[in-house]
């Protein structure tokens, strides 16, 4: 993967930034997520996770140790009015 490839579009993180973090000791996806905020933006990890897994593999981390982040509900963007059981503009 080229040095400046954007691994995470939501948080604007490049491949080399991830490589530097791995070299710094962040050798799992959960830690990388918490350092770079990967997976917390609009795509919720749908774009970046596979790139992270590949960079960890290339750094010599065994595949069995590479675990995904916990995915958070609601999964798809959903208006708060739907959860509240109200139409937009309606109050209690």
């Amino acid at each position: 993967m080229p040095r400046k490839t954007i691994v995470c579009r939501c948080e604007d993180v490049t491949a080399d930034e991830i490589r530097a973090s791995i070299a710094h000791g962040l050798r799992d996806i959960e830690s990388l997520k918490r350092f770079h905020a990967l997976g917390t933006g609009p795509c919720q990890g749908k774009m970046c996770l596979v790139n992270l897994a590949r960079l960890l593999l290339e750094a010599g981390i065994p595949a069995a140790e590479i675990k995904p982040i916990v995915s958070r509900p609601p999964g798809a963007w959903t208006p708060l009015a739907a959860f509240a059981g109200r139409k937009a503009g309606e109050r209690s």
Binding site: D28, E30, S31, R34, F35, A37, T40, P42, Q44, R72, P73, P74, W77, T78, P79, L80, A81, A82, F83, A84, G85, R86, K87, A88, G89, E90, R91, S92
Partner: protein
Amino acid sequence: MTGPRTIIIGGGIVGLSLAWNLARRGWTDVTVLERDHLNAGASARCGGGVREQWSSADNIRIMKRSVRLFESFPQDTGFNNWFRQCGYLFLAYSDEQAALFEANVKLQHENGVASRLMSPPAIQRLVPEINLDGIVVGAFHQRDGVCFPFAMVWGYAKVCRELGVRVLPGHEVVGLEMRGRKLTGVATNRGAFAADLVVNAAAAWSPRIGEMCGVALPNHPEKHEALVTEALHPFLSTCLVPMNSGMYAAQTMRGELYACVGLQKGPAADYDPSFAFMRKVSRLLIDLLPRAAGVKALRQWGGFYDITPDTNPIIGYVAEPGNFYQFHGLMGHGFMFAPALSELVADHLAGGKLDPDIANYGVERFARGGLEAEKLIIG
């Protein structure tokens, strides 16, 4: 080597800030054991609120110091904590709550905090999109704010390591070793560590650590949940705390709206995200900020408040084992209290100086009925 062989159990902001303060006071053999990766527990799950507006003189004094430490954290550690002093606006919905705000502001002024009461029209000017229905008065303080939780944990871990503290993620404590009336070591899933002093900084999991050496602790974990929405243009400049619900809500620097609230008091077995929370928090947000109805939820998660029977922390040695120190029970507000409390605890441990602000927090107080309750526990 200076100072005792010290094992701190728990690599959240409490354990890490204490380790750094001990190392800064010259202790050279300090180890922090964290069961998970860093930023896995409550320190990373919290909303990052940091405020001087409290209802007891002790908490106001401690938080004044903590706010200064959040302000100077980038200079002190070389790590940006993204502390944003957007202010906290508490909202009273009854005469009783208004009277509490009045008493709080008076006490805060006596302790050098420049908070102020805010009339509904002034509230409307500060937050143009707010629904004023039912709001009697507000209490506002500009110096309060919100800090990025992950950054504080990474920053403390960084400066700990620079001073020789061993910060060890992936080390789960499975037992405490005792000889006579003292602890001699800590057993983990990755081997044993000898210890002259053991600090229990495991927050909601502290009672489990206590049990390993026969120390009964009265804390329990209480589930609270959080929501983050899609990013919007900036429209909410301050952190809102409507006292009719216990929720707090703010807009991040990236534009996301976020809100936290608990569903149920009492011990919880897990902090899994729930649909019931989404229904509750969505209704509360729409009532407070009507435009929230059309805003889309992005993610939700849960975490534990570490609750004590009298809402005050548990800090100090236990009678036995005599080298077992407690530093937990921070009521879901440990993120903001940790920087200042850790200074006081480090002074106690390394300097033998017990500050009056923490002298009453020993676990033995519960046998005498506990302390007066703090009234501004929120979330």
